[in-house]
């Protein structure tokens, strides 16, 4: 039966008996010498990605992180034909796994997102009023809107940069998310030692409080280090 891989952990680390993964399936540990793989049995030969399944995949690894295990996460969508195929694939990836395991030892991924708050900027009295219906006024409105969006995006980038500077001492590695999906305007992921998680949240929270009303900052984590240690097993 195909197995879906959530991540690789140190040997002997077991998920809670009540742990549930994709579509509510039980999560079990497949012991592989010094390591173990957390997997679920999947009846399909191909797995369709849905937001719900993404959350479930992530939730399994968050539970492991919460239990203070070191986790090398698998990106969503890595299916293996059966246990033997997965074991063989892990064996082939042993070197990469060793490196990834060393990277995540005692560390987690934190991230922050900068997005538009939905608060409209103050009305520009010079801007054309909605009542105007001429083509020129319509184009002016479009131009003003594009201009405002550009200003917001630039402000988000500056805020992300200044936040990153403040986090410098706490961060082991950084990934800048290129072209983040809307509604996010800027995003950074960081590899952080567990003992620095609370300080990370505090720094980002302070930055969030000082942001202009049109922007807001959301901090996420601690989670699995997808951005820094995800290994392609296969």
């Amino acid at each position: 039966m195909p197995v879906h891989l959530y991540g690789v952990l140190e040997g002997g680390v077991l998920p809670a008996a009540s742990a549930r993964g994709l579509d509510g399936r039980p999560v079990r540990a497949l012991s592989l010498g010094a390591r173990c793989a957390w997997v679920s049995d999947i009846s399909e030969s191909a797995l369709e990605a849905t937001p719900q399944r993404l959350r479930e995949h992530d939730a399994v690894l968050r539970e492991a992180i919460s239990a203070e295990y070191s986790v090398v996460p698998s990106l969503f969508g890595q299916l293996h034909a059966d246990e033997a195929a997965l074991a063989a694939a892990l064996q082939r990836s042993a070197e990469s796994l060793d490196e990834a395991m060393a990277r995540v030892e005692g560390r987690v991924e934190m991230s922050f997102l900068v997005a538009a708050s939905g608060v409209a900027p103050e009305e520009n009295s010079a801007a054309p009023r909605e009542s105007g219906s001429s083509g020129r006024e319509h184009l002016l409105r479009v131009r003003n809107r594009i201009h405002a969006e550009r200003i917001l995006r630039d402000s988000a980038a500056e805020l992300a940069q200044s936040t990153t500077r403040l986090l410098n001492e706490l961060v082991v590695a950084e990934r800048v998310v290129e072209s983040p999906a809307p509604p996010v305007l800027a995003a950074r992921a960081h590899l952080v030692a567990r003992e620095n998680v609370a300080r990370y949240v505090r720094v980002v929270s302070l930055q969030a409080a000082s942001a202009i009303p049109e922007l807001r900052v959301v901090v996420r984590g601690p989670g699995a280090a997808y951005s820094f240690a995800a290994v392609r097993i296969g």
């Binding site: 990605a49 890595q78 995003a187 992921a189 949240v201 959301v218 601690p222």
Partner: protein
């Protein structure tokens, strides 16, 4: 007494709850959890669960394809 991780997590979760912005969380997951795995593995079909996700999924797919293309021209390490 709760440890540092639990405290930070509680604080983070409460922030997210207050924000109540599911698209932000989903955007974060799409950017990080799927990434290149979607395209390289070829095992996953992007599903669109709602109107609001269409753009997210398309953007993600584009980014993933771009990364795949970049990877294919990089010399092996």
């Amino acid at each position: 007494m709760r440890n540092v991780d639990e405290l930070a997590r509680a604080e983070t979760d409460s922030m997210l709850e207050e924000e109540g912005d599911e698209p932000l969380i989903l955007s974060d997951l799409l950017n990080r959890v799927l990434d290149k795995g979607v395209v390289i593995s070829g095992e996953v079909t992007i599903a669109v669960a709602g109107v609001d996700l269409v753009r997210l999924d398309l953007r993600l797919l584009l980014v993933a394809v771009e990364r795949l293309a970049r990877k294919s021209i990089e010399p092996p390490a």
